[in-house]
């Protein structure tokens, strides 16, 4: 039941011994340290009324949760966590529900923590479309500010419940504050920056100070009446909902160091080496 820590030369991650959940993250070089909780939750998609846009459904074009509160997975469901230790990589395997799981990895010498999430097939037999998010809570005092690279070119400053060129009035604070994330989203205070890099374009926000949430997978039952003409409800090879798998890379450092860190990481991720194989029986000596 003791807390479990995995660490390499640069980073340390602490997990709660009782729940198996992430508890804190520390950069061993700069000393930057944050409490870090991560949860998986979901929104119920708004079912809408396809004939009246005012009561619009959540769908392919529109993210519109039924309520502003995201829901936890069934609390009665026991979370299951395994850890794998080795010389090159340490892993924590987390199971949040029968259809949501994650592997947290720390490679030798790596300056990032890798989180591989697997979500789906999202059950919809209760007649409710669901939109699954992961939420990182850091405790950083961010004053409603977060940053995304949503235009695909530059990092843009986002301010919660605010638009730079007009006065925003919203009754739907979740949808109104979601922005596209092409490759990265980050938050910081005066000293410390927490960055999440994604392996694909996703949506995300910071709905409370110190938090980042990222949309992972959606399965919805109603058309949003904006042109596509069908619900966002793709099925996989077995006819059930699709299983989505992807990675988040977490970086923690001082504000000063973080720009170089996430840009260097971006090059590595988005111009990654390509692999190919042969069944050649040739030995290295013969090859050389």
């Amino acid at each position: 039941k003791a807390d479990i820590s995995i660490k390499n030369q640069h980073l340390s991650l602490m997990f709660d011994g009782n729940t198996g959940m992430l508890k804190s993250m520390k950069n061993l070089n700069s000393g930057a340290s944050i409490p870090l909780q991560q949860t998986f939750q979901y929104y119920i998609g708004h079912p809408g009324n396809s004939s009246v846009k005012r009561f619009q459904a959540s769908g392919a074009y529109v993210f519109r949760p039924l309520t502003s509160a995201s829901l936890d997975f069934q609390p009665t469901l026991k979370k299951k966590t395994l850890y794998v230790q080795g010389q090159l990589v340490q892993e924590i395997w987390q199971q949040f529900s029968p259809w949501v799981s994650q592997v947290v990895r720390l490679y030798d010498q790596a300056k990032y923590a890798e989180l591989e999430w697997t979500v789906g097939p999202i059950p919809v037999s209760d007649g409710k479309g669901k939109e699954v998010i992961t939420k990182y809570s850091t405790g950083l005092q961010t004053n409603g500010v977060f940053y995304t690279d949503a235009n695909g070119r530059e990092i843009l400053k986002r301010v919660r419940n605010h638009r730079a060129t007009w006065e925003l009035k919203t009754s739907e604070p979740v949808a109104a504050n979601y922005y596209p994330i092409n490759s990265r989203v980050y938050i910081n205070d005066n000293k410390t920056q927490f960055t999440v890099m994604t392996d694909r374009s996703q949506g995300g926000s910071s709905l409370q100070d110190g938090n980042i949430e990222v949309m992972l997978h959606r399965r919805l039952l109603y058309d949003d009446n904006l042109g596509v003409g069908e619900a966002l409800n793709e099925t996989g090879a077995d006819g059930k909902g699709l299983i989505a798998r992807g990675k988040h890379y977490l970086l923690l450092d001082t504000v000063q160091n973080s720009g170089a860190l996430h840009r260097e990481m971006g090059l590595r991720l988005y111009m990654a080496p390509s692999l190919s194989f042969t069944n050649s029986q040739m030995k290295q000596q013969e090859w050389s």
């Binding site: 198996g20 596509v228 111009m271 390509s274 692999l275 190919s276 194989f277 042969t278 069944n279 040739m282």
Partner: protein
Amino acid sequence: LNIQVLKEAMGVAQHHDAVSGTEKQAVAYDYAMRLSRGNYECQKVVNDAYKKLFPKQKEVPPNQMFCNLLNISMCQATENNKQFTMTVYNPLGRAVSHWVRLPVIGKSYVITDPNGKSVPSQVLPISNVTKNIPERKGSLAENELVFQVALPPLGFSTFFIKMSQQSIKKQRSVVGQID
């Protein structure tokens, strides 16, 4: 001519529906098919390039196989061969190191880099979550082989990987349950 197939598929995918994912499902399948064909044709080009770049050999060099399903730990080339080579191309203009995870059937492997040096590796079990992904049906791999490769700028390195009967203690992973 080969890369034109992918260029045209990418051209089609500049439509706003493909960029944002607001296309109908049937159209999504069509986009995926076009991109898949383009990807396949470009892999032929890479194959031809490697045949010119590799050291001269007495026999015709074997075709390169590409593993598009490594994200669900599935790869025919690594699962069905006890011995194989892996060539890794680095598109960046500077040297990088890169972590590789390969689905395998064995529990112990010997890896040699292009200079004949042994590469440290670790073998981990594949989780039940991964094994239960329906698209992975037919995969034989029970484990993943993890190791780090060092790559030259804008260049490639070839690694030689062979299943070992010896039990190498340091390759093993220790698995425990928290609760």
